[in-house]
């Protein structure tokens, strides 16, 4: 198991080593010590490995991740798992703004809270936040699910496309074209599956959640809707 101390090893060296792993590598579990808030740690991974980071990370940790399982035993800066394609990113602490931004696949789990614009422009990722999320979350969210066990800030789901939002707590306000929608069986099953994937099987009462989605009134620009923007 490679053990990399970022006080001894340059970030560039670490990332290049991770990028150049062969598909049949035996070095499948990496431990990274002393991240000290460095940006762009373990970004651009493209291998079915696990990377565990012991401490707080800066911007864009695990950005554009494919296949890898990245665990951050600390807090994450802006844009954790941005544009992730597949794999799992697990933040044990809090996540800053734009967590999971534009991500197309995989799962992001945040044990604590996530800041503003969580899931902005998400394109297929599943995000589960055990705490609360900040304002403008799921702005222009296109696809995927955002599940929040706590509360959501202002303007949730503004200009939403087809992403599905589940919030257990309160929502300060909904953004343009975002509405509460009925929870049917298919949505309960979907929510159950996402909570189970996030390690919360049976721990949470699905009946406590509300579902939010797009009213689809802004899908075709019309002057009568100009006031909504």
């Amino acid at each position: 198991m490679p053990n990399v101390d970022l006080r001894q090893t340059a970030l560039r060296e670490l990332n290049q080593a991770l990028h150049h792993l062969r598909p049949d590598t035996n070095e499948t579990h990496w431990l990274i010590a002393n991240p000290d808030g460095r940006h762009a740690i373990a970004c651009g991974l493209d291998a079915a490995i696990s990377v565990e980071i012991e401490g707080n990370v800066g911007y864009y940790c695990a950005g554009m991740n494919k296949l890898a399982n990245v665990v951050i035993n600390g807090n994450a800066g802006v844009g954790v798992a941005e544009n992730m394609m597949s794999g799992l990113v697990h933040v044990r602490g809090d996540a800053s703004q734009a967590a999971g931004a534009t991500a197309q696949g995989g799962m992001l789990v945040v044990e604590g809270n996530a800041g503003a614009r969580c899931g902005i422009s998400m394109k297929g990722i599943d995000i589960v936040v055990k705490g609360s999320i900040g304002h403008m979350s799921a702005f222009m969210a296109q696809a995927g699910t955002l599940t929040v066990l706590g509360d959501a800030g202002e303007a949730l789901g503004d200009s939403l496309y087809e992403a599905k939002l589940f919030v257990r707590g309160s929502v300060k306000s909904l953004g343009a074209d975002c509405v509460e929608k009925p929870m049917r069986d298919e949505h309960r099953e979907l929510l159950h599956a996402k909570l189970t994937a996030a390690g919360l099987n049976g721990e949470i009462d699905i009946g406590e959640f509300k579902r939010y989605g797009s009213a689809r009134t802004l899908y075709h620009f019309h002057v009568d809707n100009a006031g909504a923007y």
Binding site: N83, A101, R117, S121, M140
Partner: protein, 444 residues
């Protein structure tokens, strides 16, 4: 009243303020209740490269022989930080235009033409297509606010990365691709339902400001192992500060797009009233790089209304390292060709004026996703036309450079230029022809 008096009546006179085009727009707005959206760049008359002239050689300057002595055109982009800078045979590149806005055949033709000419082409909003990558020897991958089609595999396949902050037709604006162009394929690449109007954000979702931009650039470099040159493209508005901030953030290349630069679809009021002319943007951008000691180390690409080798030579003389063309390239492919005049008439326009690129009904098969219209464009022939056009522009620029005694296009300099108007003299920072006066710089 006698006959003479009757014949001496005044002619009907249109107002210069409320001219026929203005009145037509007022009537259109009153009838529809919505602003006009169109493609292309600013159509108003602006100070431009036409307002500059080269002085050529004279007693104090020695020319090069036109058909014997070499005038190099090669340009290297991205040597500041990238392990693999790109080398182009000509400093004329193809600007970013999306698959979605353009047909797949048009994108393929751009790749073919650029490759034949030894230059680069650029993706656009919506990601990279196989046709484009396959036919482009050197492909720049745009990284846009919407991140439609953004894929790390494509990022790694690219030869350079262009972070798009804005474009000259709409600095500060997002975009809207109307539903009729959102086919199954376009929708699939963008993770959107087919047929809906697709909005493009005006701001990047995960960074704000130059300090964040520096960190974003670090991420992109880390993901690509510091191999790819990173460009930063901005619409011309505050070129001195934008260039300085882009360079400070770590850009290898800065792209400045003036207001004549085209768009796939934007409000006419935006295109015509926001941003500054290309001519006005070059010298401040060059000055910013010179003040930082980075001129020629960070390359400057200028775009927006580049049409000929003369325009190329003038942009380079003012300090740019390369130029990018978009509208000119589309015209070379066949856009607005009079051979389709009957169909342009049926659309309520005429060849040369067609700009409803967003509606997807382009008779030339370029700005459309309609399969029948797209099939009209032969990507091989269109690519050949583009390559010819690029070759002519390069030869024209060389012709002018030799006349000025320069053995490389990059040796052209502001001293080779004069201006025909006070406005152009002020913007380009060169003397009014026949004088030593540079408005705003020297005494009158």
């Amino acid at each position: 009243m006698d006959d003479h008096a009757r014949k001496a009546r005044t002619l009907p006179r249109f107002s210069a303020t409320f001219d026929p085009a203005t009145m037509a727009e007022i009537r259109r707005a009153a009838a529809t209740g919505i602003y006009d959206i169109r493609g292309a760049g600013a159509k108003r008359k602006l100070p431009h490269f036409d307002d500059l002239l080269f002085l050529g050689a004279s007693i104090s300057r020695y020319p090069l022989e036109g058909y014997r002595e070499r005038c190099s055109t090669e340009v290297v982009l991205g040597g500041r930080f990238a392990k693999k800078p790109i080398t182009l045979k000509t400093p004329i590149t193809i600007a970013g235009m999306s698959f979605g806005s353009l047909s797949a055949n048009a994108k393929e033709a751009l790749g073919r033409g650029a490759t034949l000419a030894g230059t680069s082409t650029t993706t656009g909003d919506g990601g990279m297509t196989q046709e484009e990558r396959g036919h482009s020897q050197t492909l720049v991958y745009q990284y846009l606010p919407s991140r439609y089609g953004m894929n790390p595999d494509d990022l790694r396949k690219a030869d350079a990365i262009e972070i798009v902050i804005g474009q000259g037709a709409k600095p500060g604006g997002g975009g809207m691709l109307l539903g009729q162009k959102i086919t199954e394929r376009v929708a699939g690449m963008r993770c959107l339902p087919p047929g809906i109007d697709q909005r493009s954000a005006s701001r990047h979702p995960d960074w704000t400001g130059p300090d964040d931009l520096e960190i974003k650039m670090e991420e992109l470099r880390e993901i690509t192992d510091w191999e790819k040159p990173i460009y930063v493209k901005v619409g011309a508005s505050r070129p001195y500060y934008d260039t300085a901030l882009a360079a400070k953030s770590g850009a290898d290349v800065v792209v400045i797009d003036g207001m004549q630069g085209g768009t796939a679809a934007t409000q006419d009021v935006f295109i015509e009233n926001v941003g500054i002319p290309t001519l006005a943007a070059i010298r401040p951008a060059v000055q910013a790089l010179q003040d930082l000691g980075l001129h020629r180390k960070v390359q400057l690409i200028i775009s927006g209304g580049i049409r000929s080798g003369a325009d190329v030579a003038k942009a380079l003389a003012l300090g740019a390292d390369a130029v990018a063309i978009g509208t000119g390239a589309l015209i070379a492919l066949g856009d607005n060709d009079p051979m389709w005049e009957d169909e342009y008439q049926a659309l309520g326009t005429t060849a040369g004026a067609y700009d409803d690129w967003h509606e997807g009904r382009d008779p030339a098969g370029i700005t459309t996703q309609d399969p029948e219209l797209s099939a009209r464009l032969d990507p091989v022939l269109a690519g050949r036309r583009l390559a010819n056009y690029l070759a002519v522009m390069t030869l024209e620029a060389q012709t002018i450079a030799r006349a000025c005694g320069k053995s490389h296009l990059h040796n052209l300099e502001p001293e080779d230029l004069v201006a025909l108007t006070i406005e152009a003299a002020a913007m380009a920072g060169v003397p009014l022809a026949g004088t030593t006066w540079i408005p705003g710089r020297t005494g009158f």
